[in-house]
Amino acid sequence: MLVRVQRYPVVGPIFEDLFSAERQIGSLFNNLLGTGGLSRAHTFPAIDHAEYENESILVAEMPGVKKEDVKISLENRFLTISGERKAQELPEGSSWVRNEVDAGEFGRSIELSHAVDADKITAEMEDGILRVVLPKPEAVRPREIRLH
């Protein structure tokens, strides 16, 4: 499930981005040379998933999302993160100059590459980053086998 509410930016005469059309062409070429602005993932949330010996760690970018609006669940080997990013409400008498940020419901499932000790999963949110630690059960952790 992935539902996104797309709102369209209205560009005003002020807050001219320093990356105007001309500069965007410039930074595109810069990209090809390995410098300049990189584009970011369009999926929400963007995730990194790193595997280590005894655990794997999932990191998800969730700017503007409150902890209480996120749900994490594990079913078999599928880890699902879902929730809602509440839209920015415009105070009365205000108008948009730019509106580039998406809001709405989101959801993502990934299949884990290893078994998980479900009781020991921990999750925390800080500065718009969700971090889920998925420990492997003792039985599947790598171990050295000694020769007798």
Partner: protein, 132 residues
């Protein structure tokens, strides 16, 4: 708003050279929501993974420059199964035009979103004109 989320805005009155020279080599541009109220402009930038201790907000000569370095999420020996988050910081700059009071800007960072409030100069605020 919680006081400990506030970020000091650094003002430069003489020149923009100081902030222009230091555009980072690699960065991503955070998406922005900007709205205008009768008294101010409010800029909100998505900067997940940056922190209030490392974000910098500079304002000089009608230019606003925001930087947000990020620290690495993973140890060096990690094998990455998904890797969608660029391991580079955030950077974005705007020309503000005239009409912003550069001495009356504040910023705070919460849930990965940097919010900057730029108040208008008195003469830019809307005024109601009464018809006699």
């Amino acid at each position: 708003m919680a006081k400990n989320n506030e970020i000091a805005v650094q003002q430069h009155h003489q020149s923009t050279a100081l902030i222009e020279r230091s555009e980072p080599e690699q960065f991503t541009m955070p998406p922005a929501d900007i709205y205008e109220t009768p008294e101010a402009f409010v800029v909100m930038l998505d900067m997940p993974g940056a922190s209030k201790d490392t974000i910098s907000v500079h304002i000089a000569r009608e230019r606003l420059v925001v930087r947000g370095p990020v620290t690495a999420f993973h140890k060096e020996n990690a094998s990455l199964l998904f890797n969608e988050i660029p391991a580079v910081g955030f950077y974005r700059a705007f020309n503000l035009g005239k009409g912003i009071d550069q001495n009356d800007v504040d910023a705070h960072f919460e849930d990965g979103v940097l919010t900057i409030t730029l108040r208008k100069k008195e003469e830019m605020k809307p005024k109601e004109i009464h018809i006699k």
